[in-house]
């Protein structure tokens, strides 16, 4: 029996859990109503979606102030029971877990969702599936909140899949476009690849610990004692005796869970779906593919942090670092504004994952929070820019030019000044300039990475420094590509559409207020003050303190054992690292921006701005094509599979179907033959019998003619027969 001794709950905790459930279902109700009846509501019901999300946001704020730094609420309910072979029953519970991280995520998800929906009112205006769009957003919000609130891995996995599903719906929202359909399919399938690993990880953990409950798992794992190759667990839940589990299997379990993160958070090697996902509407890209959904992987890593062994963390760090560098490199060669932001998202997610891997757990979460705001801001601004370009393209009846290509833009600083001033802080935050939020979080991650490498390489193996080098290289590249595309968009002259007023909503306003307000709010939130009173020191950040591993994990770092405390101690001793990181990162960012300026000047001088061609030089082509990862998958995985399935289909058609058809033909011929036999032999026999019976009957009737004398004749014939018999013998 797996009976969990339910902790005593105060009425207040219970009510908090119920409020949390309300937050969860509000977007679902709104989304469901919109999908079913959206067409009949006034304004197709966008107000309903926004009201529900707004209400959810305010409830989240209430929960936030009740829970943050005060208490952790864990309420469970019985979910279902399974009978095993031997009379015992396995009970499964479901529940809500509210701690600092959960309420923080609640606020972020509902807040950005709210802003994006307000933004979408104008941006998606006139779409013929307008209500569907808001319905899908509601379902997405619901799924994301479910991930955040779940207290067990099974439920989390269910919501995880729902998120993937709603993402699929939204990427393929414009399903009239082939590219959107393909992108949705691609995103869905790449997520599935990761989810298989995730599922296996869950299975492994359940096999060992007999529970899906994250809290129970964490407690069980915390009691483990590292014995080198094995972990010894004293009597944990549901088991009488201490068990010994292999280090390898636990590492594999952790890596399995990390697979889910790789899929969802677009880490190497599954990151290729994210740039394609930009086929979806821009607000969707902002909400899902920048701020929240892709962050779910990082959230999962944080929740499952205790389940990762030191080796698993090493793999995570390597994957994260590699992704950060590759994303940044790919972004340098892009000219599509959304593609640039998408690759930067990959790069930033790489940072977060790397942060998790190097044990900078809290820094990673801080970056998750700050990134959510500034990346949402960037995407929404990009949305305004694209909206403006569309507007102008529409006026010119221009259907051939790519409205998302930054080489077609230019001079928007004058044309769309408000957007410019909203864009710059977010971009600065992304680059990591001081005073902006990104600086804090990136600095924290970089410091963590350096500290981790320093601690690990104490044994003389300097290879560990590759990770921080990757990270610092990415900082340089980020500065370069962000500066470059900002110059392209906002400086110089408008290249494609010379009349500036065509790009604006009207003479007085550059865009609708509903577009600008969310952008403004997010831009303001890109400033560092909101996250730390001292904008140069991340250590004082209230977010960092709230989500530090000591608080979130309750001083139980899990399987990685003493790694986290050791790094903390190491950083404390080597205090120069922190300062050096700050200076170095600022320096690199500035150099990156300067290089971006040079690149822009060079392009202007060469007059290359007006010629829109794919890059020709070796490296930039490599980066532009995203290192030919897609082509690689196409060649190595997809094509062989297609050939295999084509072969299977051909086999099926040429062999199995042919055999079946031949068999069927034989059967038909046989059936005809049998039919013939039936008609002529069987039926013939029957008819013959009938004829014989008829003739016999006629004969009998002839004898029974009513003449008594002929009866006599016939009986005498019998007598004659007797004579003949006697004569014969």
């Amino acid at each position: 029996m797996n009976q969990v001794a339910a902790p005593l709950l105060t009425p207040e905790q219970n009510s908090l859990a119920l409020w949390a459930l309300l937050v969860l279902v509000l977007p679902l109700i709104a989304g469901g109503l919109l999908l079913l009846f959206g067409k009949k509501l006034t304004r197709q019901g966008d107000w309903l979606a926004i009201a529900a999300t707004g209400l959810a946001f305010f409830l989240s704020l209430y929960l936030f102030f009740q829970v943050w730094e005060k208490q952790a609420v864990h309420v469970t309910w019985p979910w279902f029971q399974l009978a095993t072979g031997n009379t015992s029953i396995i009970s499964f519970t479901t529940g809500v877990y509210l701690d600092n991280l959960a309420v923080l995520m609640l606020v972020i998800v509902t807040f950005i969702s709210l802003l994006v929906q307000v933004f979408s009112v104008i941006y998606m205006h006139g779409e013929w599936r307008y209500h569907h769009y808001f319905g899908y957003l509601g379902i997405f919000t619901f799924s994301m909140l479910g991930i955040v609130l779940s207290d067990n891995l099974l439920l989390l996995f269910i919501f995880w899949e729902l998120v993937g599903f709603s993402s699929y719906l939204l990427i393929g929202f414009w399903y009239e476009k082939d590219a959107a359909v393909l992108a949705g399919k691609k995103a869905f399938l790449f997520n599935r690849v990761g989810d298989i690993g995730f599922l296996f990880g869950i299975f492994l953990l359940y096999t060992y610990f007999h529970t899906f409950d994250l809290i129970l798992l964490k407690n069980a794992i915390a009691s483990g004692v590292n014995q080198g190759n094995n972990f010894l667990f004293p009597a944990i839940t549901g088991q009488a005796d201490a068990i010994t589990l292999s280090y390898t299997w636990l590492t594999l379990a952790g890596l399995g869970i990390f697979c889910g993160c790789v899929g969802k958070s677009a880490q190497f090697p599954l990151q290729v779906w994210l740039p394609d996902a930009m086929e979806g509407p821009t607000p969707v890209s902002s909400l899902i593919h920048a701020a929240t959904m892709v962050a779910a992987g990082v959230y999962l890593l944080s929740r499952c942090f205790p389940f990762f062994t030191e080796d698993a963390l090493l793999v995570i760090a390597i994957i994260g670092g590699l992704t950060a560098l590759l994303g940044a490199l790919a972004a340098t060669a892009q000219y599509d504004i959304k593609k640039i932001l998408a690759f930067s998202t990959i790069s930033q997610l790489g940072y977060m994952v790397m942060g998790m891997g190097v044990g900078a757990h809290d820094a990673s979460l801080l970056h998750l929070v700050t990134h959510a705001f500034f990346k949402a801001s960037l995407f929404l601004n990009a949305g305004i820019v694209i909206h403006a370009m569309h507007h102008a393209a529409h006026e010119f009846s221009d259907e051939h030019s790519d409205v998302q290509d930054i080489r077609n833009m230019g001079g928007f600083r004058k044309i769309l000044p408000f957007t410019f001033y909203a864009y710059i802080p977010a971009a600065a935050a992304l680059v990591g300039l001081p005073l902006f939020s990104g600086f804090l979080s990136k600095d924290a991650i970089l410091t963590g990475a350096w500290g981790w490498a320093g601690f690990k390489s104490q044994n003389g193996n300097l290879l560990y420094y590759v990770i921080p080098v990757f990270a610092f290289g990415s900082v340089l590249l980020t500065g370069f590509y962000m500066a470059k595309h900002c110059f392209y968009i906002f400086f110089g002259e408008s290249k494609l559409y010379k009349e500036p007023e065509l790009l604006r909503e009207n003479k007085t306003a550059e865009a609708s207020g509903l577009l600008l307000v969310p952008v403004a709010i997010l831009a303001v939130l890109s400033l560092a003050f909101f996250f730390s009173l001292n904008p140069f020191n991340y250590a004082g950040s209230w977010v960092m303190q709230g989500v530090s591993w000591q608080k979130l994990l309750m001083e139980q770092p899990g399987l990685s054992g003493g790694l986290l405390p050791a790094i903390t101690t190491y950083l404390h001793e080597a205090s120069y690292i922190s300062l050096a990181t700050a200076i170095l990162s600022i320096l690199l960012a500035v150099v990156g921006i300067w290089l971006g300026w040079l690149s822009y000047k060079k392009a202007v001088a060469a007059g290359g701005l007006s010629t829109i061609t794919a890059p020709t030089s070796g490296f930039s082509r490599l980066a532009y094509r995203h290192f030919y990862l897609d082509a690689f998958y196409e060649k190595v995985i997809i094509n062989p599979f297609m050939r295999l399935s084509g072969g299977a289909a051909a086999f099926d058609k040429n062999f199995i179907d042919y055999s079946l058809n031949t068999f069927a033909k034989i059967m038909v011929v046989l059936a005809k033959l049998i039919g013939w036999v039936d008609r002529w032999l069987v039926d013939g026999t029957v008819h013959l019998l009938v004829k014989v019976a008829g003739v016999t009957g006629k004969l009998g009737r002839f004898m029974q003619n009513g003449k008594v004398q002929s009866y006599y004749i016939f009986s005498l014939l019998g007598l004659i027969l007797l004579f003949l018999y006697i004569l014969a013998f």
């Binding site: 004398q709 014939l717 004659i720 004579f723 006697i726």
Partner: protein, 174 residues
């Protein structure tokens, strides 16, 4: 050829001839008379075969009873007056074929049969010397060996008479 044998052939010929006449004639009354001659001839043959009781019974029952009954029947079942009662023939060919086939078969059987007659022929030859009549022997047999058939025959006769009387009664209710 003894006298007895001559008488046998004479009476046999007479019986066949009168029977043929009975067949040939269309007049029913003539047929009845043909039958009369046949029955009488047979009675004579019975005497020749030392069956005097059977011969007397033949005369009494057939000639005196059955034939009279038949004549009554002929008279009672005729509407015609003033001309002879006629009877046509049918099935001449098939009847002739069947009858001749049966005769052929019977004749063949009779001629080809291997009679296992006991030595009693000699005894029979001596019989007339011992007893002038077979009446005593038949009487003894009828009340000893054949008592039960005798009684049953009487019953049958009684029932037949009763039945005949009942059947021929005019139905009052018609």
């Amino acid at each position: 050829m003894s006298l007895v044998l001559i008488f046998f052939y004479v009476f046999g010929f007479l019986a066949i001839a009168s029977a043929a006449f009975m067949l040939a004639t269309k007049n029913v009354l003539y047929a009845a008379f043909g039958l009369l001659v046949t029955l009488l001839s047979l009675a004579a043959i019975f005497i020749l075969l030392f069956a005097d009781f059977v011969a007397i019974t033949q005369l009494m029952v057939y000639v005196g009873g059955v034939l009279v009954l038949i004549l009554f029947g002929v008279m009672l079942s005729n509407q015609v007056q003033g001309r002879a009662v006629q009877s046509e023939s049918v099935n001449g060919i098939s009847g002739g074929l069947v009858a001749s086939a049966i005769f052929g078969g019977l004749a063949y059987l009779i001629l080809s049969a291997d009679y296992l007659l006991p030595e009693g022929i000699t005894v029979a030859d001596a019989a007339p010397a011992n007893t002038k009549s077979s009446i005593i022997a038949i009487g003894i047999r009828l009340i000893t060996n054949f008592a039960l058939p005798f009684e049953v025959a009487s019953l049958i006769l009684l029932i037949a008479l009763m039945g005949a009387a009942y059947i021929s009664t005019e139905d009052k209710h018609e």
